[in-house]
């Protein structure tokens, strides 16, 4: 029984880290621009198709392709922000909501037109393998995805803390007027932030492509899981997204084992409701100022 718990906990943590990368893109966009990307799951699915496509052509494992997918999605996010979303920043929230829902529907529609509804599995030898460490069996694909997701999170934190542009992003997030006063080009910051957010989604999509076979209709699941994580962790908090992801991955796994597998999603929503009641800003979110 101890082995069963050990394996379930390890699996929950691994998938939770990948969930965290999915949520990171959502939280960074909100943290800087205060807009909620309701098409985030669809962008993760774009990352899955990019990963699937690159893997089909090169046969390079998805965890090694993830930086390339992040780059593709960065460019897409940057362009989309410059072309359309920047003009919606100061509009009412319902306009932003409609805009992103439109993006979601368009992306899913295009996926259906170009790729059809059938799931596209990435059939690597690693998809069927696990690392055996004593009684512990660690899924190879999940371990690779989790390690790469951690590398992305670390790189992002380093970028935000150590680089000049990263500091500009944080300044714009902390005090928009002050950032404008000291000459930060806010719309450029927004565009790069959108690129980073979509880059995270793209990398996460490529990393999960060998775990959840690529298909258009996964998007809603990803959007929901990202929302649960960022609300539990605290909207706009990178640490919150990381720890929230691990917490959700772990709690779902343990709920499935100890209560019922059919109730594990219900358990996540229950956790979400509890956090909203007891800590409305999330476990690691800042208090309203």
């Amino acid at each position: 029984m101890a082995t069963l718990y050990l394996n379930v906990i390890a699996g929950g943590i691994l998938i939770g880290i990948v969930y965290a990368l999915i949520a990171l893109g959502l939280t960074i966009i909100f943290g800087v621009m205060r807009i909620v990307n309701f098409a985030h799951g669809e962008m993760v699915v774009i990352g899955m198709y990019v990963g699937y496509g690159l893997w089909s052509v090169t046969k390079i494992p998805p965890w090694m392709i993830a930086p390339a997918a992040a780059l593709v999605l960065f460019v897409l996010g940057y362009a989309l922000q410059r072309a359309i979303v920047n003009s919606f920043i100061d509009r009412p929230q319902h306009s932003q909501f409609i805009l992103f829902i439109s993006f979601a529907l368009i992306i899913t529609g295009l996926h259906l037109v170009f790729f059809g509804p059938d799931p596209r599995p990435i059939g690597m030898i690693e998809s069927m393998q696990s690392y055996a460490i004593g009684p512990l069996h660690l899924d190879v694909v999940r371990s690779q995805a989790a390690l790469m997701a951690l590398a992305f999170v670390a790189a992002l934190i380093l970028f935000l803390q150590q680089s000049t542009f990263g500091r500009s992003i944080r300044a714009a997030a902390d005090n928009l007027i002050g950032a404008r006063v000291i000459g930060i080009r806010v719309h450029t910051v927004y565009s790069v932030t959108a690129g980073i957010g979509m880059g995270c989604a793209g990398a996460a999509g490529t990393l999960v492509a060998p775990i959840f076979d690529t298909q258009p209709f996964l998007a809603t699941d990803f959007t929901l899981i990202a929302f649960i994580i960022v609300i539990v962790g605290g909207l706009g908090s990178l640490t919150g997204a990381l720890l929230g992801g691990v917490l959700i991955g772990l709690s779902e796994a343990l709920a499935a084992l100890t209560i019922s597998p059919a109730l594990k999603t219900v358990f996540s929503y229950a956790l979400l409701a509890l956090v909203l009641v007891w800590r409305p800003n999330g476990l690691f979110g800042e208090q309203e100022r």
């Binding site: 029984m1 069963l4 394996n7 379930v8 699996g11 929950g12 998938i15 259906l112 059809g116 509804p117 059938d118 799931p119 599995p121 059939g123 998809s127 069927m128 393998q129 696990s130 055996a132 069996h137 899924d139 190879v140 775990i211 959840f212 076979d213 209709f217 996964l218 699941d221 796994a253 499935a256 084992l257 019922s260 597998p261 059919a262 109730l263 594990k264 999603t265």
Partner: protein
């Protein structure tokens, strides 16, 4: 029937959403069936497709739209939930509804007068499936003692599960079910569920799944190094589908499923299957075969009705008696509840990347490989 005017037949399927791959495969069967019926001198039928978007409640809305568009016969769906929803619309408008694929027993127990189901209800399906599982020990000489059930937690999964509970006791199957594990229909990760099933230490795994979850289960079994004596589905889709064998390759072999299927020992059925696979670039599986057969039944009824009036088509469907057809079992006839009671169940096993019939003897094309070749020995 006005001269030259086609009879409009509405076909309701899940053409998008999470179950779209099954719906699209069913549509291929319907379309191929239409071509085949036309070539065989069938009546002039125009098929109009409606998408229920993988949402059971949409069945009724789509059916009502098709009826407004002039459809005088409905065919569908590929799921029990949406079939019930469509049946309500058909009943209200008094339009006959020919069911492609749906196994929930309550469909024919709710007093609907317009439905005709050419698919076994879960109780019959499971009854025949459990009988196949029970005879497996005798035919292979290997007697499993325990089983664990892993089932999807929706209308279909619970229907089959309840059927297994009842039939297992009635047939006194000498295999003890040691655990039943339900999982969410939207689950994308079944690692915990498989770990739990493995911990039960049973000889047999009996999954009740659709194709996506069946793939997830086998992948997890390989990764968790769990090779039970056998994997036998007591009447659910998944393992026989092309998506399953393509995704799993050699690891998909050995998986057994007890389902209604076309009879491969019938030359006519074999030719139709071969032609379908060539022309539609898809496997002639359960979805395609039942969709194909639904169209043949519709064409036969419309031809005999010689009318596009719903009441005339309904009367013709009621008197259906088709002896030469492709699905394993007896003639296609509907009882007073609209159920065809003559559909048999075969045991399939994936061998070399394809499902083949391994029992009963009068339909089998290969011998069962049992116990399962362990995953780490492949």
């Amino acid at each position: 029937m006005s001269q030259g005017a086609p009879v409009k037949v509405g076909v309701i399927l899940y053409l998008s959403g999470v179950q779209a791959f099954m719906g699209q495969q069913t549509r291929r069967g319907n379309e191929f069936g239409g071509t085949f019926a036309k070539e065989a001198g069938g009546p002039n039928i125009e098929f109009i497709y409606g998408d229920a978007e993988s949402k059971p409640e949409n069945g009724r809305v789509v059916a009502e739209r098709l009826i407004r568009d002039g459809c005088t016969l409905l065919i569908g769906t590929n799921d029990s939930g949406s079939t019930i929803s469509v049946a309500q619309a058909a009943e209200a408008a008094k339009i006959p509804f020919l069911i492609n694929i749906a196994s929930a027993p309550q469909i024919t127990e709710q007093g609907f007068t317009q439905i005709f189901r050419n698919f076994p209800p879960a109780t019959t399906l499971v009854g025949n499936a459990v009988a196949r599982i029970k005879e497996l020990g005798a035919t292979t000489g290997v007697e499993p003692k325990t089983a664990v059930i892993l089932h999807v937690n929706d209308t279909f999964g619970q229907g089959i599960m309840n059927g297994v509970d009842i039939v297992w006791e009635r047939l006194q199957v000498p295999i003890k079910i040691v655990d039943k594990i339900a999982y969410d229909v939207h689950a994308r990760d079944l690692s915990v569920e498989v770990a739990k099933a493995k911990a039960a230490g049973a000889d047999l795994l009996m999954p009740i799944t659709r194709v996506g979850d069946a793939i997830l289960i086998v992948r997890e079994m390989v990764k968790q190094n769990w090779s039970p004596m056998g994997i036998i589905s007591p009447g659910s889709p998944g393992p026989y589908e092309k998506a399953f064998t393509d995704a799993l390759g050699k690891y998909g072999d050995g998986y057994m499923s007890c389902v209604p299927w076309y009879n491969p020992t019938k030359p006519g059925a074999r030719d139709i299957a071969a032609r379908f696979e060539k022309e539609m670039d898809a496997r002639f599986d359960l979805n395609a075969a039942f969709a194909f057969e639904a169209v043949q039944i519709a064409a036969d009824a419309v031809k005999r009705a010689n009318s596009n009036e719903p009441a005339a088509i309904h009367a013709a469907l009621k008197s259906t008696d088709i002896k030469d057809h492709i699905i394993y079992g007896g003639p296609i006839q509907f009882d007073e509840k609209g159920q065809n009671l003559n559909i048999g169940v075969v045991m399939l096993q994936n061998q070399n990347g394809r499902p083949v019939v391994v029992s009963p003897a009068d339909a089998s094309e290969a011998k069962a490989v049992f116990p399962l070749v362990p995953f780490d020995k492949r």
